[in-house]
Symmetry: C2
Subunit: 432 residues, 2 copies
Amino acid sequence: MSTAQPLNVGLLGLGVVGSAVAAGLLEGRGNLAGDGARPLVLKRALVRDAKKKRPVRLPARTLTTDPSAVLDDPDIDIIVEVMGGEQPACDYIARAIRSGKHVVTANKEVLCKRGDELLPMAERHGVRLLHEASVGGGIPIIGPLSSDLLANRISSIRAIINGTTNYILTKMAREGASFDDVLREAQKLGYAEADPSADVEGWDAAYKIAVLARVAFGASVPLDRVYREGIVSLQAQEFRYAATLGYTIKLLAAARRAGDGLLVRVHPALIPSDVPMAKVDGVLNVVEVEGDLVGPLWFQGRGAGPQATASAVFGDLLRIARGAEIRPHARTGRRGDKVKLAPMANHECKYYFRLVCKDRPGVLARIAGVLGRSKISIASVIQMDADAEKGEADLVIMTHPSLERSVQRAMKEISELPVVARVAAVLRVEGY
Amino acid sequence: MSTAQPLNVGLLGLGVVGSAVAAGLLEGRGNLAGDGARPLVLKRALVRDAKKKRPVRLPARTLTTDPSAVLDDPDIDIIVEVMGGEQPACDYIARAIRSGKHVVTANKEVLCKRGDELLPMAERHGVRLLHEASVGGGIPIIGPLSSDLLANRISSIRAIINGTTNYILTKMAREGASFDDVLREAQKLGYAEADPSADVEGWDAAYKIAVLARVAFGASVPLDRVYREGIVSLQAQEFRYAATLGYTIKLLAAARRAGDGLLVRVHPALIPSDVPMAKVDGVLNVVEVEGDLVGPLWFQGRGAGPQATASAVFGDLLRIARGAEIRPHARTGRRGDKVKLAPMANHECKYYFRLVCKDRPGVLARIAGVLGRSKISIASVIQMDADAEKGEADLVIMTHPSLERSVQRAMKEISELPVVARVAAVLRVEGY
């Protein structure tokens, strides 16, 4: 038994993750830091409704609806923030830091949008702001990047870090179902929120890749500098055609050094079906890291869920209990040079286009003409399904590596050709 | 620039890994721990031959052939041991610890055989004995297990942690080649040692899984309590037959709670070809961890190579430079209860048998009789290649889950049947 003075924990939020953290503390997981470390004790939990039924039973005096009862309690040493959302979470975290409390948070939105203020603030106040749980659920990734891999120059991170969209894409690929149908089913099963926009529009993945980019590259990445495309406009056809061509569609989040800058992007991508990332299905997450010493690494696991997220929260809590010095933003501190962000326009990759064209001769010549003038070289053209009634057919074009800037320009031009009914899909093919 | 007093590093061994560590220090990777951390400086390197050509150029006064010049130098704060082998490495590590130096080592053999003495010794002397590089090359695994995942009760570790054997098995599977041929080729390419026994007999994997078991379960695992089988007796047929049945053969290292004990084992295993572990090919390593909060996790990367190993060494060095408290054996310290080790005899799994039988009627009845009396239930029997000249045929039997103890007894009995020329292979099928 440890005789060291306990560290008091104040919990902000007692939803599914907060309840799992509270349950873990009641089970004694806060005592696992080893001999000499201070045990962790749950002192207070901020809730919206003290009367609500919860999966964990806490003494009535532990619950409070008054933020000050947690944030201004001088006996509380560590705040665990698991409310989510930007506000009031961000204000609470700042308040906790200013009153000298360590903070452990799962909040990727706050870390992404306000990390540039909060992390140095924590440093100035001599407390820690740890956030392993903000990315990849229970997968250790912030820890490895900021500690185990610290000597590496990281060149690339590629990840599937949104479980909801990966569940939806996996279903669409397997069942040929439409986005709307699969989304409705995911909502019924609790894999998607009632308002799914943060997930399906790619915001959640954008927050997370920005957070990873800070840790891995020391880069400050404002949200509006993350190129972001969601999955809402993906059609069932794309999955069928992609499979025919040997690809799977995933929502890819990537940060990679390109030239002298760092390109951070989230978009659906065609992944060759035979590479491991194509097989990360359902709610699994994966983070692929490439370091100059270590080479390519692969971290995979459950990217969400209360228990998995609590595992990461406890990792950070026990770090504090042991007095371990880990600063997930150490790379920012250490490198004076500010990392420059690269624009998406310079991105180069192969592309997949689906054009709905008038089913008549000469169409391809017109399209190929535009692509040729834009220096986009065609790798293959396949005519897929035709709609005889409308006199239209799907033309699927795969290109050789081309510049995003040229592709966008060419697509605008192609969409205005009289032989083209519409540009139905422009998807990037991830290189392997 | 850091103005903190440097930490002096003494290097034991300047082979490929030692040279990569020295090069990293010269490149300034020892300054990456962040503001306020002490920079690392290479003070001395112990070599056998000071005149030998090396990939890294060090000032002549840095090199020494005298162990005392490194171990007894009071200015040296940290010893990096990358000599390998049990002795004199173990004595040097102990000597360094006793004179108050931190030790970072890549030595799985010493950690496995002498960790029970050395780790508490380091604790008593208030220094750290860190060994991320001892398992999985640059893959962060000791760090995540001892820090990020500390709140989890780990139930299982399954790993491919020997690159040499994985390279050989991958080749044998792909090319249908014999063990001897592939080994010779691997030796030519530098993937296997001139004396390959540590790898191909499973010793290296046994050291590593014992080290992981200590970190993950707090278990003290004497080497003779690791069930160990190498790959030297695997025949080309097994790969062909396994593929026919939908399996791949891997050298599996596993530690799993079984009943009230922990079973630690290294042996070739049939892995279903469609699970991810079956696809970890060549010199890649993978460690699969299952924790009660986090669920299954997957860590994959290059398991060897000087740069990857140096990445892990630097992770530990920078931990010390930041003063970060991490004890890779924390779970031992914290849990009074000694983990009991389970015997292999109680292991239960499906089995693959290849029996070379006389090609005549009634053979199967005799064999099935023995299996039935041993309570081993047959899932499938296939007659494979026959040798008409000798009048023999390969009989491949797959069983339902059976007890190791029963299988060993039955195999002895079967090998004595007059209709059986020999028991050519008994392989375990890993459950998924």
